[in-house]
């Protein structure tokens, strides 16, 4: 398990079992997923801790993450199962904490739970409250 981008944040988990294609499906201003078939369709990401398996699609999607941060529509932290360069560099550009967790933890974390992510030092923790 890894810290990809350090930082601290608290928020409510917004969970997607499906990967997210930032370039192809996320609105650059509102941060909402435009794909009707996606579990996060039209759900606001702002202020959430976004929990999803990994990002897919063009690496230019990193600029989408920067853009939604500039428009106040970005999650306060992201948690993934697997590293991909699009989400990693996007969170780095936008200074959004990003950590990777294992399958077990991913299963146990649920949509709507309150969570505190502390990825400030070399060690980091995620505390979840149901």
């Amino acid at each position: 398990m890894r810290v990809i981008v350090k930082g601290r944040a608290q928020g409510t988990i917004l969970k997607s079992e499906e990967p997210i294609n930032f370039l192809g499906t996320v609105d650059k201003i509102t941060g909402r997923v435009r794909d009707r078939a996606h579990p996060l369709y039209q759900k606001p990401m702002a202020g959430s801790v976004l929990l999803f398996p990994y990002g897919i699609g063009s690496s230019v999607g990193a600029y989408t993450i920067y853009s939604i941060q500039s428009h106040g529509a970005a999650p306060v932290a992201m948690i993934c199962k697997r590293a991909d360069l699009t989400v990693a560099t996007g969170c780095a550009l936008a200074n959004i904490p990003l950590i990777l967790i294992g399958d077990d933890e991913f299963e146990r974390m649920r949509d709507g739970q309150r969570v505190a992510v502390d990825a400030e030092s070399g060690q980091a923790s995620v505390n979840v409250q149901s």
């Binding site: 990809i4 590293a83 990693a88 560099t89 950590i99």
Partner: protein, 400 residues
């Protein structure tokens, strides 16, 4: 207060070890630009299993064409370039943009596209980047000594650097290459280390033309994740080598080839059947309304060859030839452009077949090209039909 019974406690760690100096930069001690750049390097290093950063001597950036990076990219670069300390620290060169400013008024691109593209160009220039707008930096700049670490984001250039020029680079993202330019550092991940191919592709095609090499590259790039050996190539001219690098860079993550048989590796044949299958995937039209040459852009030798092939002939269809500005200037002095322009072709600098909005799918149904890389992007991004023909066939069929 958290309900302790529901606490999920996860411990995570970082694997990229930083020097004290690098740690200070990441902590913001040297300003916001360095902090952001180090954040990108660390994030990239974590995602690619790098245990540290290494110094690099040359960065080549992608993420230049407004057609690909869009408003969000334009805004990011504009913001970044205005910040204190936003200067590149090593030699930094640049991929093609969307058009050639000398002839853009001949096309119907719209003022918004042109002004956004110019803003991107200005942002890079403000940061000290050399405005080379070329995907063949290896043909227009001096190559540093063998073993030098560089950071190339253009895939054909990264493969050429690793395989032909003796340099070391990952297939960088636009972001890691930019961060490398701003810091002079890059994550020490897979391709920078010694890398033995675990697959050998056996080239079985007799008398291959440059398109066969492009399809070989495309096939080999899919067969191997990071590096590949290719046997059965006695010699390869520049045009074929660039075609191979372009095809390979388009197909996947493979960032290096070496010639010969890698001992103990898995063997895969590239014969007529395999070549046909790549051809069938990318060739979608029987003919084209427009011919494009270049992707990768043409170098001086290729322009000279082309001018000889076109002697006394004229194109019967529109033809765009993509060539770096530095090469066009040299070719013009040497008289190589005269015959090409007389034959009716347009020579365009600073842009390339891939992702240029000058090829408008509203007006063009299909494009004839000898570039496998170009064909891939024309089909999948531009959205036009693709008619693959080797250069000799293009001259035969489309000039008289």
């Amino acid at each position: 207060m958290y309900d302790r019974t529901n606490i999920i406690f996860v411990t995570v760690r970082r694997i990229v070890e930083l020097t004290r100096e690098e740690e200070s930069a990441l902590g913001g001690e040297y300003g916001e630009v360095q902090e952001t750049a180090y954040r990108i390097l660390v994030a990239t290093g974590e995602a690619t299993d790098a245990e540290r950063l290494v110094p690099i001597r040359w960065a080549h950036l992608s993420g230049v064409n407004y057609n690909t990076i869009g408003d969000a990219g334009e805004a990011f670069l504009s913001d970044l370039s205005k910040k204190d300390g936003a200067r590149v620290r090593v030699k930094t060169t640049l991929n093609p943009m969307g058009f050639d400013a000398d002839s853009v008024s001949d096309y119907d691109l719209g003022d918004d596209f042109v002004s956004k593209q110019m803003s991107i160009r200005d942002s890079y220039e403000k940061m000290g980047v050399i405005p080379s707008f070329s995907c063949i930096p290896y043909e227009i700049f001096d190559i540093p000594e063998s073993g030098t670490q560089v950071a190339f984001a253009e895939s054909n250039a990264a493969i050429h650097a690793n395989s032909v020029d003796g340099l070391r680079t990952n297939k960088e993202s636009a972001f890691s290459a930019l961060a490398s330019a701003l810091t002079g550092k890059s994550p020490y991940s897979a391709m920078r280390k010694d890398n033995t191919p675990d697959v050998t592709v056996r080239m079985m095609i007799d008398d291959p033309d440059e398109m066969a090499y492009g399809m070989l590259g495309f096939f080999a790039g899919r067969a191997a994740d990071s590096s590949v050996a290719i046997s059965g190539i006695p010699n390869m001219d520049t045009r074929s080598c660039k075609s191979l690098c372009g095809g390979m860079g388009t197909a996947g993550t493979c960032a290096k080839f070496e010639l010969g048989d890698a001992p103990g590796s898995e063997k895969v044949d590239f014969d007529k059947r395999e070549m046909q299958s790549v051809h069938d995937e990318l060739n979608t039209a029987e003919g084209g309304d427009l011919i494009t040459l270049g992707s990768p852009q043409l170098g001086l030798g290729e322009i000279r060859d082309l001018s000889m092939m076109l002697k006394g002939r004229s194109f019967v269809k529109d033809c765009m030839i993509f060539c770096p500005r530095a090469v066009v200037e040299q070719a013009r002095r040497l008289g190589h452009t005269r015959e090409i322009e007389r034959a009716g072709a347009k020579i365009l600098s600073d842009c390339c077949t891939c992702l240029t909005p000058l090829i408008d799918p509203g007006r063009i149904d299909a494009v004839t090209t000898n570039s496998i890389k170009g064909g891939y992007y024309l089909k999948n991004s531009t959205g036009v039909g693709v008619n693959l023909r080797p250069l000799s066939g293009i001259i035969e069929d489309y000039t008289k």
